[in-house]
């Protein structure tokens, strides 16, 4: 041997062997297609990456129930808790408790205050999304008239942030439009339907409804149809293709916007695993089977929102 250029042996990385990571993923609520799709993605990632994924959410979008679920995960001594928070502040104590037990905490879909978690995985840039959804509505309404917003809950950080930008965009670009009411629906289809019905009754000159919870737009379409105002009231917002496919195909709604919740679930588990491995994230980093992500400080943005229209809605199955 003449020259040895071998570097000193690389440190054997972490605890790959031995135990599998257990990652607890908590959605805002169980039983709606959006989070069901997210669960699918999370479980797929769990299989691909060989980690144990526990997915459990409250029956209603309520922070107290989430807190209980988190408590039970702390009892189970999971390695990481990823929560889509129903309240940015109130989940703080239980998350801190988890951190004290050595459990890593991150948020996805909906953030808490930055102090309670290490990482937030956002689907889209909230400003970009908020303004874009407003643009879609304005285009449907001819940029004038009354409109209402149906949100999930005002407490949920993501929803309230989007709403900020929705309103900002309307005020800046569409002065002919007027927000008449913003109602909470707790991500509940039944409540959404009732809320939509009420909106149509209370505001006879209502020209558009923007649903910022995935159950909002279908409920609004149903309500408008039942009220005989199908086609007269423009409905758009955030919803899944599966919920909206029928309405879009028949023309009750022209466009809804969302991202792939499957992809979000997959990304959440992928990044949870990286966090447990101690690797740091870089802006523009490629995540397997997801694509490149944006990283700003402790926030990750998955990608751009997708508009589902009659032309493309058949391509999506969530």
């Amino acid at each position: 041997m003449i020259y040895n250029g071998e570097q000193t042996k690389k440190q054997e990385s972490g605890q790959i062997s031995g135990e599998m990571y257990t990652i607890a993923v908590i959605p805002k609520v169980e039983g709606i297609s959006y989070f069901e799709a997210a669960e699918e993605g999370a479980r797929e990632a769990g299989e691909d990456l060989n980690v144990n994924v526990l997915f459990e959410g409250p029956p209603a979008a309520d922070w107290k129930q989430q807190s209980t679920i988190i408590e039970s995960f702390i009892q189970k001594e999971v390695d990481l808790i990823a929560v889509s928070a129903n309240d940015p502040e109130k989940l703080g104590p239980v998350l801190q408790k988890a951190e004290e037990k050595g459990i890593k905490v991150m948020t996805w879909d909906s953030d808490t205050n930055a102090g309670y978690r290490e990482l937030f995985i956002n689907m889209v840039d909230p400003e970009n999304l908020g303004r874009h959804v407003m643009d879609n509505l304005a285009s449907e309404m001819g940029e004038e008239g009354e409109y209402a917003i149906m949100t999930g809950s005002h407490e949920a950080a993501n929803v309230s942030e989007w709403m900020d930008y929705i309103v900002k965009q309307q005020k800046k670009a569409y002065p002919g439009m007027k927000l008449v009411e913003a109602v909470e629906t707790e991500d509940n289809p039944q409540k959404s339907y009732l809320a939509a019905k009420k909106l149509l009754r209370d505001h006879p000159r209502l020209k558009g409804i923007l649903g910022s919870s995935s159950v909002g737009p279908p409920a609004a379409v149903e309500a408008a149809r039942d009220a005989g105002k199908a086609g007269a009231v423009a409905v758009t917002g955030l919803s899944t293709p599966n919920l909206m496919r029928e309405y879009i195909k028949e023309g009750s709604a022209r466009v809804v916007t969302l991202w792939s919740p499957k992809k979000l679930g997959y990304l959440t588990v992928s990044l949870a695993e990286q966090l447990l491995d101690g690797s740091t994230l870089k802006d523009g980093q490629h995540v397997g089977k997801v694509g490149n992500i944006k990283v700003k400080g402790d926030t990750v943005i998955m990608g751009l929102p997708i508009d589902f229209t009659r032309e493309n809605i058949n391509q999506y199955d969530f």
Partner: protein, 613 residues
């Protein structure tokens, strides 16, 4: 061990010059040879080390270039996600009419052409394979496209799909016209939104870019370079025939980043390797050592030439040295041999001042000494014999015999029978003394008795004209004397004394005395009142005694004979001395050591031994 022993033995028995030559040569050739070899070895080694350190660095650079290129290429398949047209066609699995199907085919293949073939000249072809369709766009004709084989490598499970996989021509069976070396990049196309696998894209990448990188590293045509994956699958090789083969050597490599020597069919080679960090591709550079050390060959040849020259010179010097040392010794040896053969007059032609010269000189002087001793012993013996012969002769001196017989005759005529009896008795005794010549030394009493007998006979002849006295004061029976040392002197004295004088008185004294060294000597003094010896004659005689005691047999021979015998027998410290004054007489003294009879026997014997030689 044994050979060394043999060498020792043969050296021991060989000639000195051979030994010297061998020693000199060994002393010079071995250290020079070792030094030369060491220098050459170290030089080559340092050269190899330098190159061995330098090439891996180049390789590392080249390998990272390749890896960068590869990383760029790896990103290419992802650009398909950018085309919503293509994505929607792929997502749509519903039944279509023939025309729809062809339209979609057109859209996707156009995309492949625009995206891959038009953008990157390195892409030979792009293949997008879905469950039921294949979209293909290539730069040059191809054959052997069997995607069903590509999708399921026999041994492995389908990979998770996120990573770009590499496939080699051997694995695919795909061949492009002109046979350019290529690599197939395989990547699964995933619908990230719907979480579905849409198909697989294959990009055939021309490996010419590797060649360019490698060309920058090495221009030596004897060097081989190749790229292989960690399993030994050769991805690219400067020898095109090797591409696609499986290299088994890799298992024998002691390391994957660095360089080492290996022995191959063609001799020793220097192999340098570098493994890239991400793909674990191994870049290998192999060059025969002899190509590497072309520069050192000059050094080696110069070293060998110098070495040989020095060996020749030192051999000459050693031969000359050995010759110059052994030649005088040989000459000395020859001289000695000549001496051994009996030639004592050898001249030794060595003038050197060194040890051999000293030896030669010693030998020369020893030879001279021996010559002298031989001369001396030889002549001494000869002259002693002569002297004794003369002494013997003088006993039967015809004149004396005649004169004595004449005297007896006259006494017979006168009827003096008593005188006759007396004379015959005396003569008889004298003859017997002469004949009893066995002993060289006799007691003093015998010698004095003999001289008295002689004087008595002469007294009968010359009657009153001759008177004599013999006086012995030494212990005449104990001490010995050489025979006939008195008679020649007395004869001489009578001869000259009675020639010119009417009467002659002779006295003989025998005395003991101590010489200068405190030893006892015997001194014989013969004194007469004859005519003496003339001054000139005396000087002449003394000179003869000094220089040539063995003079010719002329007058005075008797004295010289005695002197010679005394000197020869007892050494030059003992001698005969003559004092004479004209008209007054002569006194001759003979001094000899006091030798007892016992000693005399030994003396005689020694002399006998000397004679025998």
């Amino acid at each position: 061990m044994i050979s060394k022993l043999l060498e020792n033995i043969t050296l021991k028995n060989s000639r000195l010059s051979t030994k010297l030559i061998v020693t000199y040569i060994l002393l010079t050739v071995i250290p020079m040879g070792l030094l030369g070899m060491l220098a050459y070895y170290e030089y080559t080694k340092s050269m190899e080390e330098k190159v061995g350190e330098y090439i891996p660095k180049l390789l590392k650079q080249a390998n990272s270039n390749i890896e960068n290129n590869l990383s760029e290429l790896e990103k290419l398949p992802d650009s398909i996600y950018g085309s919503s047209d293509v994505m929607s066609i792929l997502r749509d699995s519903s039944l279509k009419t023939q025309s729809q199907s062809y339209q979609e085919q057109f859209v996707v293949e156009s995309f492949l052409t625009n995206m891959y073939l038009d953008n990157s000249s390195e892409i030979l072809g792009a293949f997008l394979v879905t469950e039921d369709r294949a979209f293909i766009s290539t730069r040059i004709p191809y054959e052997g496209f069997k995607p069903e084989n590509w999708l399921l490598p026999p041994s492995e499970k389908p990979a998770p799909g996120e990573k770009v996989e590499f496939m080699f021509p051997g694995q695919t069976g795909l061949e492009f016209e002109g046979g350019p070396p290529y690599l197939l990049l395989k990547k699964q196309v995933t619908d990230v939104d719907n979480r579905k696998t849409l198909g697989t894209i294959f990009l055939a990448v021309n490996l010419a870019f590797i060649e360019e990188v490698l060309y920058d590293v090495e221009e030596n045509e004897n060097a081989a370079m190749w790229v292989m994956d960690k399993g030994g699958q050769v991805i690219f090789h400067t020898d095109a025939g090797e591409i696609g083969t499986l290299s088994s050597e890799i298992r024998e490599y002691p390391l994957l980043n660095g360089s080492f020597q290996a022995r191959e069919d063609g001799g020793r080679t220097l192999i340098s390797v570098n493994q890239s960090a991400r793909h674990n591709w191994i870049l290998v550079h192999r060059i025969p050592l002899k190509d590497l050390t072309v520069g050192t060959d000059v050094v080696r040849n110069a070293t060998i030439f110098t070495f040989l020259t020095l060996v020749a010179i030192t051999t000459l010097i050693s031969v000359f040295l050995a010759w110059s040392v052994t030649k005088p010794i040989k000459r000395l040896g020859r001289a000695m041999q000549e001496v051994e053969e009996g030639n004592w007059n050898v001249s030794i032609p060595i003038q050197a001042q060194d040890e051999v010269g000293a030896l030669a000189q010693s030998f020369d002087s020893m030879l001279a000494e021996i010559r002298e001793l031989i001369e001396k012993n030889y002549t001494t013996e000869l002259r002693q014999k002569n002297a004794e012969l003369y002494a013997l002769q003088s006993q039967i001196n015809p004149h004396f015999m005649y004169n004595t017989l004449q005297t007896i005759n006259m006494a017979v005529e006168d009827g003096e029978s008593d005188t006759v009896i007396e004379m015959v008795t005396l003569l008889g005794r004298m003859l017997r003394y002469s004949l009893s010549n066995k002993d060289r030394l006799v007691p003093i009493s015998q010698e004095t008795a003999h001289i008295e007998d002689y004087l008595k006979i002469q007294k009968y002849r010359f009657e009153e004209r001759l008177t004599y006295l013999v006086q012995t004061e030494a212990d005449a029976d104990v001490y010995a004397v050489p025979k006939f040392i008195l008679q020649p002197i007395v004869e001489n004295s009578i001869k000259y004394g009675l020639e010119k004088r009417k009467g002659l008185h002779i006295e003989i004294w025998v005395e003991e005395m101590l010489n200068a060294r405190g030893e006892k000597d015997i001194v014989f003094t013969i004194r007469d009142n004859g005519p003496g010896i003339e001054e000139e004659t005396l000087e002449e005689l003394k000179a003869k005694l000094q220089s040539d005691p063995m003079g010719k047999r002329d007058s005075g021979f008797g004295i010289l004979n005695v002197h010679a015998r005394v000197m020869l027998m007892f050494g030059s410290r003992y001698e005969l001395q003559v004092e004479s004054f004209a008209e007054k007489g002569t006194e001759i003294t003979i001094q000899i050591p006091a030798i007892s009879k016992n000693e005399a026997a030994g003396y005689s014997d020694t002399q006998e031994d000397g004679e025998g030689k």
